[in-house]
Amino acid sequence: AGAQNKIQVGCTATSDCASAMIAVDEGLFKKQGLAVEMVLIGINSNIPAAILSGSVQIGGPTSTVFLQAADGGLDLVAVAGASVMGPTSNGNIAAFVRNGITIKEPKDFIGKKVGAPGLGAFLHVLFVKWLVEKGVDPKKVNFIEVTFPTQMDIIKSGGVDAVLTAEPFVTRMTNAGTGTVGARYGAELNRSEPIIFYAASRDWAEKNPETLRKFRAAIAEGATIVNETPEKAWAAIAKFTKTPIDLVRAAPPNRSDPTLKPEQLAWWIDIMASQKMLQGKLDLTKLILN
């Protein structure tokens, strides 16, 4: 009783929430007695607000968005894992440089204008981490924001020297002859921490343990399908994001992992703190509700 059987799940148009998309497509939620509606949210950083306003009960923020929201005082908890970095996803990430610029080693980025799809967002934070690991002072790199869909045009016009990007854009830009991959920094970092996980407001999560249990069960099943039969995942992603299936197929979905461990978040907290993105001290034990 009191458990809510009809919930909305808000995600951005990426493969990270594939486990939930599959769970809808394959009727896994229904099997658990849950009616789930997927809501497409344009910008990831809006997800915490959407959760708090009750527009969605569960959302899929990136780790950076989630941690910054928690740091800003939003009472959110992570309830299940969605996607984690892995060999495929890491290989998808690249710093793509325009024609006329050659990057031989990390310090060649010094003084360059680099476009990131979101300052302080996933790709940017990782890139800065990579620079630091390679002994390059990130302050000497000039970052600006360039969203994914405009990257190709800006690279072509020479507006920036490089962009931080991911598949399918890497292949598209390479095929269009606008430049080359300058660094596969994702692969070089080779991490396995979560990219996106499912989060809810603490209030709701504590009141609906039963719903959450069912949700986790369905997600776990969905994750297995995503990881084993990408074909099904692609179909679900294309359907949810209304993207042409060919485009979706260009890249394998990020690995889904329904579990969530505190130490994985600890790694994120560390690098974000070192990049001065967090102001307070976050209590790890309170951030995850298992």
């Binding site: 148009a13 809501v39 497409l40 949210i41 344009g42 910008i43 809006n46 607000a49 959407a50 708090l52 306003s53 009750g54 527009s55 969605v56 994914f148 869909p149 405009t150 990257q151 190709m152 045009d153 072509k156 598209r172 269009a176 994001t241 209304k242 993207t243 042409p244 485009l247």
Partner: protein, 253 residues
């Protein structure tokens, strides 16, 4: 050249030029597409039901926000235009709140109202208040002073003064303000959808953009232009039938 053809000359010329350029340079872009592709995408979109649902959502919040916002703006504008004391007292407050971009309020509005119509209507209304307020205040400032003196001499009640002198005298200009506000309402509604709200044409544009369908995105953009055009044309029609012969008599001289 027949009358109805004239407006088409310029856009058709531009479209032909753009198409030629796109073909000559073998356009490869995620934000631009040749007009022929846009045309195909538009036809495809018109055939699917989604465009119509999105249009309904956008128009509903545009109109609701427009009506609420301009009613508030008009009332404030009249009050401020008539009472110079009130006007002066509110000056700092108004001028300081006015430039706050509604887009900066989006995160707060999202928390307060969640996704959907309500948030969008509030944002649109907030944006519509200001042009209406400023322009109706100016319209009232521009009323022939002799007419206001007539009102004073007849000792019209405040309500009558507004109803019988102020509004009719300022109405043509207030209507211009309303048309302006209508344009702004549509823009803000779509912007709101692009930035946050997952309904309406703005969300469709976002989806098309993220799906790298530049042709579809531009088709939606053109569709929005068409809606705005129709909105404005409808208002113009209303304006002409509203001010009928009194306006025509002015022109006759």
């Amino acid at each position: 050249m027949p009358h109805w053809l004239k407006p088409l000359v310029l856009p058709v010329a531009l479209i032909v030029l753009f198409e030629a350029w796109a073909r000559a340079t073998d356009l490869q872009s995620d934000s631009l597409a040749p007009p022929s592709a846009i045309g195909r995408a538009l036809i495809e979109a018109l055939g699917s039901g989604e465009l119509w649902i999105a249009t309904r959502d956008t128009l509903a919040s545009t109109l609701a926000g427009l009506l609420i916002g301009s009613a508030i703006g008009l009332m404030l504008g009249i009050a401020l235009g008539l009472s110079s004391g009130f006007n002066r007292l509110m000056d700092v407050t108004i001028e300081a709140i006015r430039p706050i971009p509604s887009i900066a309020l989006l995160p707060i509005a999202l928390i307060a109202f969640g996704f959907g119509y309500r948030m969008e209507i509030v944002i649109v209304a907030f944006a519509c208040i200001w042009p209406m307020l400023i322009l109706s205040r100016a319209a009232i400032g521009g009323i022939e002073p002799r007419l206001l003196e007539v009102a004073r001499l007849l000792r019209l009640t405040s309500a009558d003064r507004v109803r019988k002198i102020v509004i009719p005298a300022a109405l043509p200009r207030i209507f211009v303000a309303f048309r302006l506000a209508a344009g702004i309402a549509l823009i803000v509604a779509v912007t709101c959808e692009i930035a946050i709200n997952p309904i309406g044409l703005g969300a469709s544009i976002m989806a098309a953009q993220q799906a790298l369908r530049a042709d579809l995105m531009l088709a939606y953009l053109i569709w929005i232009g068409a809606i705005g055009f129709a909105l404005n044309a409808g208002l113009l029609l209303a304006q002409n039938s509203l001010f009928g012969r009194a306006a025509l008599a002015e022109i006759a001289r």
